[in-house]
Structure formats: C-alpha cells, structure tokens
C-alpha cells in the first residue's frame, strides 16, 4: 500500500493521472473510451480517499467532468458528448506534448552554473540628448487621450448582460456534491439545498444528484432523505462521520 500511495502523490494533476492511465492501458489518446477511463480514474480517486490523502479540487473537478461526458453521451443526440470528448482529448494531447518538450528542455539545463558579472559602476551623465520634432508630442497626446476616453465608456451597463443571467453548470454542482460527501460521508437531501438562492443553482444541484445516482457513484437512501457513496467508501465514511 505504501508503494501505491507514493505512486499517487507523484501525479502533477488530473491530466497527468489521465495520461498515465491512457498509457498504462494502451488506450488511444485520439479516441478515448470515456467509460473505462472514468472507471480507472475513479478507482484512483477512491484509493486516494481511502488513504486519507487530501484530494485536490482539480482531481474532483476532472471526475465531475468525466462523469458529465459519460452522462451526456447517454443522451439521444451524442453531439455534445463528442464535442466535450474532443476537447478533453485535445487538452491531453497538448499536455503530453508539453511534458515531452519539458523533458527535452530539461536535458539542456545547466543548473545556473554559468556566472556573469554585475555592471561596472561608473559615474554617468544620463541627460537625454536626442532631438525630436515637437509634433511627436501632439500625436502621442491624441493616442493617450483615446485610451482615456475608451476607458471612460466602460460603464456598469457594459457588463450587465454578462452579470445578470447567472447560469450554474451541472458539472460544478457534481463537484459540490462530491466534496460534501467526501467531507461528511452522508448528506441530508433537504440540507443540501438549504443555502441556495437561485433557481438555476437548485436545478443544477438536483440534476447533479440524478447524474451521480445514474452513474452509480452515489446512493439515495430508501426513504429518499439522504445520499451517500456507493461501495467501500460508504462504510468507512459512516464510521468517520459518527466519530
């Protein structure tokens, strides 16, 4: 187990972990089987949780993202899922390129073993001596003023359309629910909506719980009053929560 935890800690982030899984299981990075990748990914996350390692938000967010892609792919029209999958694949290819380039660059590093001097200190007359046409000032002033008036036009109303309509994503709420569960083990269903003001937020949370239930990550109790993790985590978290 000690060996495993060493392995888990060395991942730089979720993308790093995903690349590892893709390479370990010889998956095609240009056409990832999301379902099996998600399973393997969640296995690692569970292991981290079992070892009481602090799971960084980025790892949970990626879990939420994978679950979301999987869920969307079950919908009748798979275009959205395909788009999200392509986006993730793109990021993975890009990150793997980055890692390769970093390795190449690392080979050249000489560890700061070349030394240079600081400049000689001599008395210097810094007076500016070049001569310019005075109309340069006029041109410059016009441009500087332009900048100012442009700034002036940026008023609250420019942002209204962005701010007023707040859309809460289901993915962010999946993350929210998972985080709650990792902290408390079991969560009362009506408690989870308590602090939510907006309709969009409530709807997203509700959908998040449905998605998580559908993908088998969480379990709704028989009387529909609380949720908890499926599988081995459940018992452990129960104990923790009671202590």
């Amino acid at each position: 187990m000690a060996e495993l935890s060493f392995k888990l800690e060395k991942f730089e982030g979720p993308l790093d972990l995903l690349l590892y899984l893709i390479s370990k299981h010889k998956l095609n990075i240009n056409d990832i089987p999301i379902v099996s990748l998600l399973e393997q990914y969640m296995e690692y996350i569970d292991q981290m949780a079992e070892q009481d390692m602090e799971i960084a938000g980025e790892f949970l967010e990626m879990a939420a993202r994978l679950i979301y892609i999987k869920t969307v792919s079950l919908l009748p029209s798979p275009e959205e899922a395909e788009r999200l999958k392509k986006e993730l694949e793109g990021r993975l290819v890009e990150y793997s390129l980055c890692k390769k380039a970093a390795a190449l660059l690392g080979e050249r590093y000489n560890g700061g073993s070349i030394f240079v001097r600081s400049p000689l200190k001599i008395e210097i007359d810094n007076t500016y001596r070049l001569v310019h046409d005075k109309n340069i000032l006029l041109e410059t002033y016009k441009n500087a003023n332009l900048k100012y008036s442009w700034k002036n036009e940026t008023t609250v109303s420019s942002f209204e359309s962005i701010v007023s309509k707040k859309v809460v994503s289901v993915a962010s709420k999946i993350l929210y629910v998972l985080k709650k569960l990792y902290t408390f083990g079991t969560v009362k269903l009506d408690g989870i909506f308590e602090d939510m003001a907006g309709r969009s937020e409530r709807v997203a949370t509700f959908l998040a719980i449905l998605e998580l239930t559908k993908s088998g990550r969480i379990l709704i109790s028989d009387d529909n009053s609380e949720i908890s993790f499926c599988g081995p985590l459940r018992e452990k978290r129960h104990v923790l929560a009671e202590v």
Partner: protein, 181 residues
C-alpha cells in the same frame, strides 16, 4: 587600429557592462562596423580558448555577454558562498516549457494546459530569474503576461528562443516512459 586592439575594446565593453550588450551598441561604442563585430567576438573567444581562460563569450539573441565556463561553477560558489541551486522540478520544467514556447502567456493559460494551479511555481521561477513579467495583456481583466529571461537562455544553453528544441510530433501516441520526466 590593430585588430588585437579592436578585440580588446570589445572585451573591455563586455566586461564592464556585465549584462548582454547588443551588436549595435558594441559597434557604436567601439567605432566598428556592425558586420565586423561577430568576427571580432569569434577572435576573442578563440583567444580565451587558446589561453585556457575560464571566460567565454555567449550569444543571447542579438547580444553578447561575458561569462564563466560552467566547469568553474563549484569554485565560484565556494568563493561567493552561494549554494548549488536545486535541480528544477518536473512541474517547474513544465511551466517553463509552456512559457518558452508560447510567450507572452498568462497564469491562466499555463493552468489551462497543466490542469492544475501553477501560481506558486510561476512565482518561484520569477524569483529564480527564469521568468519575468511582460506587461499586461489587452484583454478583459488585463492579466499579467509572463516571458522567459536572458538568464533562462543562459541556463538552458540557448542563444535565442529559435534554439528551443523542436516540438515532438503532435500525432504521435503518448507512452508513459516518454512523458515521465
């Protein structure tokens, strides 16, 4: 003027400046044609080579700088009482790579590619004088952009960013051996 003398003028200027000096400035200050400067610098390098001097002339972008050969690093560290700097972590190398190939870039660009918060690493690379701020981008929020420094070029034995290793082929399948740094 004797050729030897011209070489020494270049040497004197490089020595006194400490920092990299552009070819134009060397040309202006020494009263020599710009085209001749690289030749004179080459002769200065040869002179150091022949006398087994500890000094070298390195080229950074369009500039030259006088520096010590890396094999003398330990002796210099002893004298200046500086510690050997720890090797760069793979995370730091990743961030440097992203900046080097895409500069100027913002922190959020770096984080998007790496998928993890990289603020601490960027700051420590700035402290190490491998990255520097490059003003603010003219996009909403006016985020700070970052670029690599001359010291970065020196530390990676590059004379300019064009010298960066060619990026691996995009189409290749990753294997974990390759990507473990």
């Amino acid at each position: 003027m004797q050729l030897d003398e011209k070489i020494s003028i270049i040497e004197a200027i490089l020595f006194a400046s400490g920092d990299p000096v552009e070819i134009e400035k060397l040309s202006f200050a020494s009263g020599t044609e710009q085209e001749t400067i690289p030749k004179l610098v080459k002769m200065l390098s040869d002179r150091y080579e022949e006398t087994k001097s500890a000094l070298v002339v390195i080229k950074l972008n369009n500039s030259y700088q006088l520096a010590t050969k890396s094999e003398y690093a330990d002796y210099i560290r002893n004298a200046l009482e500086t510690k050997r700097s720890a090797p760069l972590s793979s995370a730091a190398l990743e961030v440097l790579t992203i900046v080097a190939y895409n500069q100027p870039v913002t922190k959020s660009f770096i984080e998007h590619i790496r998928g993890v918060d990289s603020s601490g690493i960027v700051n420590s690379l700035i402290e190490k004088n491998l990255l520097e701020e490059a003003g603010r981008l003219d996009v909403p929020g006016r985020p700070i952009a970052y670029r690599t420094t001359d010291n970065f070029l020196r530390c990676f034995k590059l004379s300019s960013l064009d010298d960066l290793p060619v990026l691996p082929d995009r189409s290749e399948q990753v294997s974990f051996d390759e990507i473990t740094v």
